[in-house]
């Protein structure tokens, strides 16, 4: 039976419903100390002194550690995937409120926490900068004295040594002649859109447990990227990688919060200083000071000809990266080049700036910046269609980027079902039939949004498939199952090759001593990259089994019993077959000046949404009455799990659209808890339809590709476009709370709320 397209339950389903699934959050080992963190109360300042005398004297406190203590064992204690800019504990300066300044270690976490409350620090306060556009202006305060690219990514090396700037990456793309095209355009449209500061809040906060050995180290960590954690820890310590063993059980959610390194360097430094196991497990509040999603300002300008064709598009995108670069510069580039949207435009100019500010660091969050861009370009596209008096769906069809046509990078589109996704949204929305516009104070409207994303390149994945003498199969992979179902998907892919049932396959994930390198579980890359690696490893194992059959004298093509094969070879039940697979897709780096590349991504992700809304014109309250989510996921490995990725991604984006916003007061987050930061609950889920179109990704494993982010793309603009359709006002900032809608309605009526009057 084919294993592709089978909706088997997750391999680990039983352990999850019985509460026995393993998470680092739950781990404890004998002799373990718990760390609690003292954090900065100022957004930008020089550290003058840290007073931890009282804490050190408290009964039960094992140690108090500061940045200077860390520097004694790690001389250059700065980490990060793109830049080596983040100190393990603050050194010399603090750059945001909530930055880790000191750590208290105790066996009893309550004692550590009480001791933290007694620590104080003195700072010489410096002027902070919070806004991503202001931070690029000539007289802005400077967050980092000098740019320190990590060297990991070739496209960031040119930034080394730059001073007196907050721009951590200035990415650009030039195609055609934008100025000429604007001059020739019949219509020119220009808008600015903004997004707010939000964050992932996986219900399992970041947790790392470091256990020192004799010149070795074991690190249990809630990471999406065990291979990178090992490399980065080894680099910080100056150790060979084989002395660092990183293990990752299941994650209680990731969504990008747990990529690259977060609390791992701190856990390791503390464990090595005190030579005991140390656990760093953040609270929910501390997540707000750890990693967030980039707020964005996006200025977008389009030139349109007499037939409504978009002939030119200029994109200026400012990414608020916060105080440390994390993976932000890659967001500005890898996502930046999709800023013009899935449209066929001959003349394109993109400037995308990763900007340091004194806010908490921003990194990757489900979509890697794409949802912020789609929010802007699909709102903009809708405004153009409205202005020209054209139907929004028809207008998109006229301009959509189809397979065989070049993208703004010059890469020819392939296996990107943009038009197919658009068509299915329109069908499911019954777009050709007018809707009831509502009566009285309740007005109804509908809108759509569609987006796309390139996969991260160039990256690699390796996998091992072991066949034991009893015929049972184990996959060794460093792809982490954080809820997306990767263990199950990998089992189905290997089982398809080996012609066995996927339920019988065991997956060992997240073990750097056992499984080969993987770039990371991120950017919807695992199904494609690791899927290809697992498929290759399984094929290698299958070929070796065939060779073994020949060796023991079985005629080719015989339907043999695997157990019999091993018995014949070894004279007893013994031995095993190891299949290895490694996958590196082809890639052409973009020209640094023009962004042009013949092969910028191994595959495209496509997703879109349609929304129907009711707007209460007296209160501004918006109710989503229908949400349609459609994505191109290539061939689907496990339809049931895939659909939950689509609906789950859409609901998450619904929170970022309607309710979620980190509130700040002078750099201080003022709503760092679920009491005041509203993520979607049961009552916030609208009537939804989710669909994966029938498609095929030619170079994917059995035609499959990633889908984890695709459903986030279209939700925000679909809702804003629907609100515009219902009541004629345009929201240009997220989130769309009732208050914002009401202000816009009142302004449009010439009756603004008192505080909105000029």
């Amino acid at each position: 039976m084919s294993q592709m397209g089978r909706s088997i339950p997750r391999l680990e389903a039983r352990s999850k419903v019985t509460g026995r699934a393993e998470y680092v959050h739950n781990m404890r080992v004998p002799g373990m100390l718990t760390a609690k963190i003292f954090r900065s109360t100022v957004a930008h300042g020089r550290i003058l002194s840290i007073d931890a005398e009282e804490a050190r004297g408290m009964e039960g406190v094992y140690a108090v550690v500061t940045g200077e203590d860390v520097r004694k064992i790690i001389p250059n204690p700065y980490f990060g995937p793109a830049f080596h800019d983040q100190p393990i504990l603050a050194l010399d300066k603090v750059r945001y409120v909530g930055e880790a300044v000191a750590a208290v270690l105790a066996s009893d976490p309550h004692i550590a926490e009480a001791a933290v409350q007694t620590i104080s620090a003195e700072y010489e306060e410096l002027e902070p900068v919070f806004d991503e556009v202001e931070a690029t202006l000539p007289n802005s305060p400077i967050v980092h004295d000098e740019l320190k690219p990590a060297g990991t990514f070739a496209d960031l090396k040119h930034l080394a040594g730059r001073k007196n700037t907050n721009i951590a990456l200035d990415y650009q793309l030039r195609r055609g002649d934008v100025d000429k095209a604007f001059a020739a355009a019949v219509h020119v449209f220009e808008h600015e859109f903004r997004t707010q500061h939000v964050l992932h809040v996986p219900l399992e906060s970041h947790a790392s447990l470091a256990i020192p050995g004799e010149g070795t180290l074991t690190l249990h960590t809630s990471s999406q990227t065990p291979s990178f954690v090992r490399m980065e820890i080894a680099r910080l310590l100056g150790w060979p990688e084989n002395r660092v063993h990183v293990k990752v059980p299941f994650l209680g959610g990731g969504y990008g919060a747990k990529v690259y390194v977060k609390v791992e360097p701190l856990a390791v430094a503390l464990a090595l200083i005190v030579r005991r196991p140390v656990k760093v497990a953040l609270t929910m509040e501390e997540q707000f000071y750890t990693i967030t999603k980039h707020p964005v300002t996006f200025r977008i300008k389009s030139g349109v000809d007499k037939d409504g064709r978009i002939t030119a598009r200029k994109c200026d995108v400012y990414w608020n990266g916060g105080a440390y670069a994390d993976i932000g510069p890659r967001v500005a580039q890898k996502t930046g080049f999709t800023a013009p949207g899935p449209y066929d435009i001959d003349n394109v100019s993109i400037d995308s700036y990763e900007v340091y500010t004194n806010r908490p660091p921003a990194g990757a969050l489900r979509g890697f910046g794409v949802p912020q861009l789609v929010w802007a370009y699909e709102s903009h596209t809708d405004l153009i269609a409205r202005e020209l008096g054209l139907d929004p769906v028809e207008y998109r069809r006229k301009n959509i980027l189809r397979d065989g046509r070049p993208h703004a990078t010059g890469t020819i589109m392939k296996d990107a079902g943009i038009d197919a996704v658009l068509d299915r949204i329109a069908e499911r929305m019954n777009w050709s039939v007018a809707i009831d516009r509502g009566t009285g104070r309740i007005k109804r409207g509908r809108g759509i949004g569609i987006g796309f994303k390139a996969s991260i390149s160039p990256t690699t994945s390796g996998a091992i498939v072991n066949v034991s003498a009893d015929g049972s199969v184990v996959i060794f992979t460093n792809t982490i199952d954080m809820g997306q179902g990767s263990d199950t998907a990998m089992a189905q892919l290997a089982a398809e090759v080996l012609n066995i049932d996927a339920e019988k396959v065991k997956v060992v994930h997240g073990d750097t001593d056992a499984a080969p390198y993987d770039m990371g579980t991120l950017g919807s890359r695992s199904t494609f990259h690791m899927g290809n690696a697992v498929k290759l490893a399984a094929e290698d194992a299958r070929d070796k089994l065939v060779a073994l059959a020949a060796e023991v004298g079985l005629p080719a093509g015989t339907n043999y019993d695997v157990q019999e094969l091993f018995r014949k070879r070894y004279g007893m039940r013994a031995g095993n077959i190891v299949g290895v697979g490694s996958y590196v897709p082809s890639y052409t780096p973009p020209d640094p000046k023009t962004g042009q590349s013949a092969n910028v991504t191994p595959f495209w992700m496509v997703g879109g949404a349609g929304a129907e809304v009711e707007v209460d014109t007296e209160t501004g309250h918006v109710r989503v009455t229908k949400l349609v989510n459609v994505a191109d996921g290539g061939k689907i490995i496990n339809p049931k799990i895939a659909r939950t990725q689509i609906s789950g991604g859409a609901i998450m984006q619904l929170g970022f659209t309607l309710t979620e916003r980190m509130e700040f007061d002078g750099g201080q987050v003022t709503n760092a808890s679920f009491a005041d930061y509203k993520i979607p609950g049961f009552r916030d889920v609208p009537p939804m339809e989710s669909e994966l179109i029938a498609a095929n990704q030619e170079n994917g494993p059995f035609g499959a590709k990633g889908i984890g982010e695709s459903a986030t793309f279209g939700v925000s603009p679909a809702i804003a476009n629907a609100i515009h359709d219902a009541v004629g006002v345009r929201l240009t900032s997220l989130p769309i709370k009732a208050e914002a809608v009401l202000r816009a309605l009142r302004a449009a009526q010439g009756n603004p709320l008192a505080e909105d009057e000029e």
Partner: protein
């Protein structure tokens, strides 16, 4: 930090007695027994991840002081498959794929047990209302509603 106090209670059907610190919450008490199905997440009683049944009533383990279970009966998610057979609710959650990362799942499973004990045939709206105190960041909400309905059906068949 402070003096210990000995409490007695029934934990998943067994009598237990243990010396605890008076500031421990119920989640910490359970971790002491190696039971980690109830997990502290938001720490404010807002997410339901730490749900535990005390005398058959669901409480937020992160806000419930351990001393209060003295003389009471505690049931955790680990008790539901006693003897190795999954409860109908657990079976239904698997059948419907009603979770992703699984971190919040024990809370949802326990709340569903309590819901079905009180209302064996809940409507969609009653399900959503009853479970609105539990959060799932992976947002498996549509599948959870299906799972609760299937669990209700399985329970009815079992009777």
């Amino acid at each position: 930090m402070s003096e210990t106090r000995t409490i007695r209670f029934t934990l998943n059907g067994r009598s237990e007695s243990v010396a605890i610190q008076p500031h421990w919450n119920l989640v910490e008490l359970l971790h002491h027994f190696g039971l980690t199905g109830a997990r502290e997440s938001c720490g404010q009683g807002l997410c339901g991840v730490c749900t535990v049944l005390v005398d058959d009533v669901a409480v937020s383990g992160c806000l419930y002081l351990a001393v209060r279970v003295d003389g009471k009966k505690i049931t955790t998610v680990e008790h539901l498959d006693e003897g190795g057979t999954l409860s109908p609710v657990q079976q239904a959650f698997i059948e419907c794929g009603a979770f992703q990362c699984g971190f919040c799942t024990p809370g949802f499973v326990l709340m569903t047990h309590q819901l079905l004990a009180r209302n064996p045939d809940p409507s969609d709206d009653e399900i959503r209302h009853y479970l609105s105190g539990n959060l799932c960041r992976c947002a498996a909400y549509p599948e959870i509603v299906e799972a609760v309905k299937l669990a209700a059906k399985l329970q009815k068949q079992a009777r």
